[in-house]
Structure formats: C-alpha cells, structure tokens
C-alpha cells in the first residue's frame, strides 16, 4: 500500500498497528486545537481538559476502526464535538454546582502542571482579560453549530468541506452558519471593532 500523503493519516495508521509513539505525536500536535474548541464551549479549564483527555482516549480506543477516508483532523474534531455535545446534554439533565478546583489534588492520574502563559503588565493584563471575557461571552451565546463552525474556521487546518463534515451540514449551510455567527459577533463586539478600545476602559 502506498504511503498516504497526509502525515497525520500515516501516524494514525501506525497507531492502528499499536505504535504508541505515533499516538503521542498526534496528541502533541492536536491537544491545543482540541482544547481551544472545548474551552470555548465549556468555559471551565478543568472540565475542558478532562474532556480533551477523554477525546484522545477515545481516539486510541477507536484506532482499530479508523479508515483513512478523510483527514485525521476531521475525524478528531468530530469525536471532540460529539463528546462535547454529550457533556452538554448530561449537564442539562443533571445540573451540577461547580466545586473548588483544589479538589483535584487527590487525583490518581497526578497533579496538573499548568503552563506559564505570556505575561502582560497589570493594566494590559486587565484589558486583555476583560476583552477575552467579552469575546468568550459573545461566542458562548451563539448557537452551537455557528460557534463550532467559527472556531474550527479559526484553527485554519480544516477546509470548509472538512468543517461541514464535522458539524454534519452541507458546505453552503456551513458557510451560512459562519456568516450568521460572525454577523452576531460583529453586532455584540461593535464597540471594540469600531474604535479599538472597549467603552469604559479609557484606552
């Protein structure tokens, strides 16, 4: 069999044969994009990371069923979206009050080690934090398919056809979703888009 052109497919076929190093390479490549998608839908870093972990575990367990009929990233984000939707449905049926994140310290899988992000000076940090919160709130208010389509579009790796496969729509419907979602975001974020500052920040 000829070697697939897509390097991710080649890696996944190795995973199918039991190659853990290939799986590790895929996790390292896609952990951040998957986490970005999940975090913007479940805006809790701990829960989003737990779900991201479940996504990759599912990928490993499903490796024997993997068929190279589409890009690996399409298959991966489809799993991520489905697990995310399952989690949202579970929460709707059984709402849970969030507890303090310090409860994780007894976790058998080990302590979390959080990366050090780029730091800003205090006023800049506050501005970025507030702006990010505004964007996050605007994204959270979008219907799920619009938000997912916009976030996948932002990742850059997926074509419109791939995004359409992930969310289960036609390409034209997907582009309509992106268009409507962006129009809504533009309306909500208008003050910043027009002037470059958020009203009330004084910058």
């Amino acid at each position: 069999m000829a070697e697939p052109v897509d390097p991710d497919i080649a890696l996944m076929l190795r995973v199918k044969r039991g190659d853990r190093a290939a799986f590790e390479a895929l996790v390292n490549k896609y952990k951040q994009p998957v986490m970005n998608l999940l975090y913007r839908t479940l805006p809790d870093a701990t829960e989003a990371e737990d779900l991201a972990q479940a996504v990759f575990v599912q990928v490993f367990k499903s490796a024997h069923r993997y068929r190279a009929t589409a890009k690996f990233s399409t298959w991966l984000f489809t799993i991520a979206r489905n697990l995310c939707l399952n989690e949202i449905r579970r929460r709707t049926r059984h709402p849970v009050q969030p507890i303090d994140g310090l409860a994780d310290q007894g976790d058998e899988t080990g302590q979390r080690q959080i990366q050090d992000h780029t730091t800003f000076s205090p006023p800049e940090a506050l501005l970025h934090s507030e702006l990010e919160a505004k964007i996050q709130a605007a994204l959270a208010e979008l219907p799920e398919k619009q938000r997912t389509a916009i976030l996948l579009c932002r990742e850059g790796d997926l074509s419109y056809e791939d995004i359409a496969r992930v969310i289960g729509c036609s390409v034209s419907a997907t582009k309509s979703l992106i268009h409507r979602g962006r129009e809504t975001l533009k309306a909500k974020l208008k003050p910043y888009l027009r002037t470059g500052v958020w009203p009330g920040t004084g910058r």
């Binding site: 590790e24 996790v27 952990k31 970005n36 990371e49 972990q53 780029t118 533009k186 974020l189 910043y192």
Partner: protein, 179 residues
Amino acid sequence: MPTVFNCPDEFMNDRQARTWQEILWRRPLSPAEAQQLKELAGHSPELAEALETETALTELLAQLPDAPLSSNFTARVLQAIDTQAAQAAAALQGLAGLRDWLARFGPRLAWATALVLVGWLGWNQYQVSRRAQAMAAIVPVFQAAALPDPRLLQDFDAIVHLSELPSATDLELLNALAQ
C-alpha cells in the same frame, strides 16, 4: 449566500466578494492582500467599511489566547489509557476465573442438577397419582350419597311408618270408613 461585500459589480462581482470573504473568515489578510482589497474598495465607502469590520473581527478572534493546558497533558492521556487497559484486563481475568471454575465443576453440577430434577419429577408424579386415586375413591360416595330434596323429608316419619302393619286404631278407622 449573502456576502458582506455588497457593492456594485464594477468594483467586485459576487464570486470575487465571496472569495475574499471566505479568506477573511479564516485568517487576517497579508499586507499584499490587504492592499489589493483596499484598492478594490477604494471607490466604495460601504465596501471599505464592511471590509474594515470583517478584518477587525478576524484579527480579534485570531488574538484570542490559547486555552490553558497542563504541560503534562500528553502524559496524563497515556496514563488514562494504561489505567483503562489494566481495568479491562482485570475484568477479563475475572471472567476467565469463572470460566475455569465452570469447566472444573460444571459436569458434576449438571449431573447433580439432573438427578435433583428427576427426583423432583418422580415425587411430583407420585403425588399426582395419589391424588387421582383418592379422587377415584370419593366419587362413588358422592354419587351414592346424593341427598333428596329436603321438602321430601318433611313427612319422613309418616312415610317410614307406612310400611309397618297398621295399628289397632288404624284398623278401627278403616272399618269405620268402609261402612
């Protein structure tokens, strides 16, 4: 599908507008692309404004920081896989133990069960047979002992004595009636 770049065809046709739009949805424009689009939009204020807003949103979304992620995320994923594999192996071992026990004691258990079943069936059949015999003995009694209507027993004493020889008083009465 609508585009944000609603402008007269002399500046840009629909297909071009969609192409630019779809590029802007995915990423900010390069300086060369931005210049090219600016020249196209230069004669249309509405197009220029739409372009500016679309670009601003794309840049804003591009500036969103990455979600926080543990530095040992990959290790945790591999550990979760190993943990689940160990749990699955332990469950399989439990099933294998049950299978071994059944292989060892299964035939004896089957024979014992068969014997108990035969014994129970035999005892059950014996009970059924006994009941049937008892029923058969009772039925003639039921048939023979069919009681008459109670109204017939009202004059029972008189009827019983009818068969006896008439008494002297009765004879006297009969003679009197005959005369």
